[in-house]
């Protein structure tokens, strides 16, 4: 693993007038990581990326790359490369000129530029397009040019701002695998912004969840998925999202919709209202359990999503088989108890697993 490209953000605050884009952010990114910034639009993830790049100045706080305080440095001096969501290719230059532009700006001799450009283009498999203009390329090809432009000067840090969002679904899935492979091959620290949680989960080594300007949780995809720290994070990850149902916790008893459930563990802290989080995959429709009625069934080929009316709630269950249930059917559901999450009602923070 590479030893360069660590990023330390300390107490970063950014406001746009009355709107707080980032609230006191502290984040560490390790060298060589593929690190995702995940969150809905407006959550501050892109702002964070741009602050690392130097395209925006934080109101307060510091940015350090490899131990050096770069907070005041110009974007060009930070030794980072960025791929923009719109690629921002120079339309009046050829692909080769686009890629080689930065080398030209620092006065690299021409022969060297040509070599470096060819190498970078070969890495992303566009060496046959070097004489074309961006306008003549497809979206996928343009994206590779943007990548090649970033690769060519071997920066400390790669910053990718939703690079796949302009591609169609199939291409997106193919390309993200290639991106991960590329990153491994180049062994360069990468910060990757996306709003697509599936994308982040599949390619990131670690990720940070942003919601409304706050950093909610940092960890490996597995860790964040299986132990979300808050209701907000829990409901953001997973497709379909986690079911959230109000209930009451008291010691070992959980009361949901008037029904008493005995939990595997005892929880201290007295009787209190909680939010119960159950992933659709952990809802079972058997012959026994709590009463519910079928609201709607979605047949997805290999799986079935059953929308159930449970008391006053609508919850979803995901079944790994084809089950034909008609609307209005009365069924019995049960929860896979070890995987049930409990969150404090008021703060939304995680209490424990059931």
């Amino acid at each position: 693993m590479s030893a360069i490209g660590s990023v330390r953000l300390r107490d970063i605050v950014k406001t746009h007038g009355p709107v707080v884009a980032l609230e006191s952010l502290n984040l560490d990114i390790e060298p060589g990581e593929f690190f995702a910034l995940l969150g809905p639009s407006g959550s501050g993830k892109t702002t964070t990326l741009r602050i690392v790049a130097g395209l925006e100045q934080a109101d307060r706080g510091t940015v350090a790359i490899d131990g050096r305080d770069v907070t005041r440095l110009q974007p060009g001096d930070r030794d980072v490369a960025m791929v923009f969501q719109s690629y921002a290719l120079y339309p009046h230059m050829t692909v080769a000129q686009n890629i080689g532009f930065t080398l030209r700006m620092v006065g690299t001799p021409r022969a060297q530029i040509e070599r470096a450009v060819r190498e970078a283009a070969a890495r992303v498999k566009i060496d046959h397009l070097l004489d074309r203009r961006p306008g003549q390329l497809s979206g996928g090809q343009q994206q590779r040019v943007a990548l090649a432009r970033a690769i060519v000067r071997e920066p400390r840090l790669f910053l990718l701002d939703e690079p796949l969002s302009n591609l169609d679904a199939k291409l997106r899935v193919e390309t993200r695998v290639e991106l991960k492979k590329l990153q491994r091959a180049l062994d360069v620290t990468t910060i990757y912004v996306t709003h697509d949680q599936e994308e982040a989960m599949t390619i990131a080594d670690r990720m940070a969840i942003f919601i409304e300007g706050r950093l909610m949780q940092v960890g490996t995809p597995e860790a964040v998925f299986e132990r979300p720290d808050s209701v907000a994070v829990a409901s953001f990850l997973g497709n379909p999202p986690m079911n959230l149902v109000p209930g009451e916790l008291d010691g070992r008893t959980l009361v949901v919709d008037g029904h008493h459930i005995t939990l595997p563990h005892d929880h201290a802290g007295g009787a209190r209202p909680v939010t119960v989080g159950i992933r659709p995959g952990d809802v079972r429709i058997d012959g026994e359990g709590l009463p519910a009625s079928v609201y709607l069934t979605e047949l997805l080929g290999e799986t079935t999503i059953v929308n159930l009316r449970f008391g006053e709630q609508l919850i979803k269950a995901r079944l790994l088989e084809k089950r034909h249930l008609r609307e209005g059917d009365e069924v019995r559901i049960s929860f896979n108890l070890p995987n049930v999450h409990l969150f404090d009602s008021a703060s939304g923070e995680r209490i424990a697993l059931a």
Binding site: Q57, R72, Q74, D77, D79
Partner: protein, 309 residues
């Protein structure tokens, strides 16, 4: 192997590196870019305008220099009581409203017409450019000598041939005004035509189809869909043409010189005549300043019409 940070960017940036914030650097660059132009702008506009106002407060009569001296608002007082001024003002109002109205109506009608022609629109666009690129003064001269001369000008001959008889196009006060308005409209309607052609073409056709399905007649489609959608274009066009009409000079000078008498003497021309023919620069300045204020007021008013969109 220790990795080296990139050397600072080339010398030019290093010179700016002294400034702490990126924002400050941006400002310095902006000043460098905008500064020279702005300086020239200020010098070439503000300065003359101030000088204009200044002169309007003086009596400057090159034909009777012994009268020169500070006059305060005397020129303006004279202006208010000057029948010829009010006459000029009235003519300006007529000239402006009629030419702009004609330009808009004819331009729009023509655009609608041409839009309905499936092919060959480029031909109309090219022909439309012709009148606009000509110097207004040349246009005036041509119309005056070749078109409107009684008995030899084409327009007059056409009028005779059509049974209307000959007119003194430029010698008769009313006809002169008509001619001057006609020539201005002739030259500038292509502008409104082209603008309307573009904005009409930009209206999504689905709207018309939806209206047709709703059984709206062509007239109603025009009134309720087309007009509201091109309203911004109409407003802009009106503003631009009004400004140009208020400042129209060259063509009128070439056609009639402001005459016969003062029949086509819009305020513009009166100021010119007062200053350069009667050599009364003080009074001419006052007239010009008044026209200036009127232009600004009207433009400001029209611009405000534009804002709530």
């Amino acid at each position: 192997m220790a990795r080296v940070w990139p050397a600072s960017a080339p010398a030019r940036s290093r010179a700016w590196a002294g400034m702490a914030e990126a924002f400050k650097q941006e400002r310095a660059f902006a000043l460098l870019m905008v500064g020279p132009a702005f300086l020239v702008l200020v010098l070439t506009t503000t300065f003359p305008l101030c000088y204009l106002i200044y002169n309007s407060l003086y009596t400057i009569n090159l034909s009777m220099p012994y009268l020169d001296g500070f006059a305060g608002l005397a020129n303006y007082a004279r202006l208010l009581g000057d029948a010829r001024f009010w006459h000029a003002l009235g003519l300006t109002a007529i000239y402006t409203t009629v030419t702009v109205a004609l330009q808009v109506v004819v331009g729009l009608a023509l655009a609608l017409l041409v839009l309905a022609i499936p092919r060959g629109q480029w031909f109309f666009r090219v022909t439309a450019i012709l009148p606009m690129v000509l110097a207004p003064v040349v246009v005036g001269l041509i119309w005056r000598s070749l078109m409107l001369t009684p008995k030899t000008g084409i327009v007059d001959l056409a009028a005779i041939a059509l049974g209307f008889g000959s007119f003194n196009w430029l010698g008769d006060p009313t006809m002169a005004l008509v001619s001057v308005i006609a020539v201005h409209t002739w030259q500038w309607t292509p502008f409104t035509f082209l603008v309307f052609l573009a904005s009409l073409a930009a209206v999504p056709p689905d709207l018309y189809e939806a209206a047709r399905i709703d059984r709206a007649s062509a007239v109603r489609r025009f009134l309720h869909i087309t007009l509201p959608l091109i309203r911004p274009a109409i407003v802009i066009v009106v503003i631009l043409r009004v400004i140009v009409a208020l400042a129209a000079f060259d063509a009128i000078l070439a056609l009639t010189g402001g005459g016969p008498g003062t029949a086509t003497e819009i305020l513009n021309l009166y100021a010119y005549r007062a200053a350069f023919i009667e050599l009364n620069f003080g009074y001419g300045s006052a007239l010009a300043a008044t026209l200036l204020v009127i232009t600004l007021v009207i433009s400001g008013f029209l611009f405000r019409l534009r804002s709530p969109r």
